[in-house]
Symmetry: none
Subunit: 252 residues, 2 copies
Amino acid sequence: MPQLTAGQYMLVYNTFSLTIAAMLGSFVFFVLARNLVGEKYRMSLILSALVVGIAGYHYIRIFNSWDHAYSLVDGMVSATGTPFNDAYRYVDWLLTVPLLLAELVLVLRLPKAQGGPMLWKLVIAAVAMIALGYPGEVSGADMTARFIWGSLSTIPFVYILYVLWVQLGASLPSQPEPVQKLVKNIRLLTLATWGFYPITYCLPYFGIDPSTSVVGIQLGYAIADIFAKCGYGVMIYNIARLKTEADNAAAA
Amino acid sequence: MPQLTAGQYMLVYNTFSLTIAAMLGSFVFFVLARNLVGEKYRMSLILSALVVGIAGYHYIRIFNSWDHAYSLVDGMVSATGTPFNDAYRYVDWLLTVPLLLAELVLVLRLPKAQGGPMLWKLVIAAVAMIALGYPGEVSGADMTARFIWGSLSTIPFVYILYVLWVQLGASLPSQPEPVQKLVKNIRLLTLATWGFYPITYCLPYFGIDPSTSVVGIQLGYAIADIFAKCGYGVMIYNIARLKTEADNAAAA
């Protein structure tokens, strides 16, 4: 573990606490708000709750691991010898990223023959993307390994973007006008937040010192997680509301 | 406790954390999704929630027991002298395996004269299977005891398979077509995941070193538990959804 200043240590510490609060707050929101949307959209809200619940659990573990990796006494930070466990993030993504993609496909209520296979392709690509990124993340000072695994991980990432833009894009004209706009926005949010992870992943290449790099990685992942999980879930909720209103208008 | 490398120790540690997240996430899912199925199928969803809730509790205990059995400081793993408690798994199975079988029998809504006795036979066989396996699991280096108890435990296991294939199979033609397919899939999942436990149980016989054996046993049981509890529960949910849709179509 690199040597940190008290300010650096506390910045990461407080960001982790913020992330726990955001995840658990969003969990309560999705559980309670699911009854405000039509029954056929509720599964997406349930999956949103699952995602932020699982992420909340992992951020409590990440927070505790950070707390145990360093001690701060009289303004001095020292490493305790207990390692900071980076694996929690990857375990979290392995569970939550397929669920995030399922939220989007399910809320659109595509015809079964279309939605089912699309969902499977996205889930398999998401698992491949995360499983391929992990060996690079834990390769330590071996920059070549980080580069190779990171590059391999990009292939399924690009494939996911292809499915979301080309295949899911083809189904958009069948959706109500305001839903189309929201789906386009949620795809952009996905691109912006998911694109933030590889930038964070690459921080060690930018020639910055190891402590700034550690702080940047932790802050980058935490902030990206808040947008990609809580913000994304709120947009899914908005799509579900709009579709519920459209259904009610059609039934009236 | 055998000597482990830091990588072996952390692999088991992270797998336990993954399992906790999977169990607690599934708990939230079954609790929230139970209202998406018809009232007469809700008991199965409630039992699914119970199973993963109880398993989540036990995995928190198992995680803590693993954490206390070893210490990892400056990349070196050493046994603390506190034993790792294997009994949590058997206590868990004693409670959850009868519940898993009850989920399946109840979701099918067999006629009472048929479903009731079948459920009792399955529950008693499940308790016998687990109670007979435990003395072998804790017999340490005594490979003969492990073999005898393991063999005795296999008798009720085969009986459960007989009930599921022959007796429950005989009732399948009265179920809607897609439900029949799902029940066949869930039986295969049961065979594959439950069959995984005896393989894990037999790992000490394969002449591998004790540390690899310990890591393999813990990983094997954890992954089998995720499929046999969370995956199985999701399949029960799908059966309940299909039967709810069939009921609604028949009533319309």
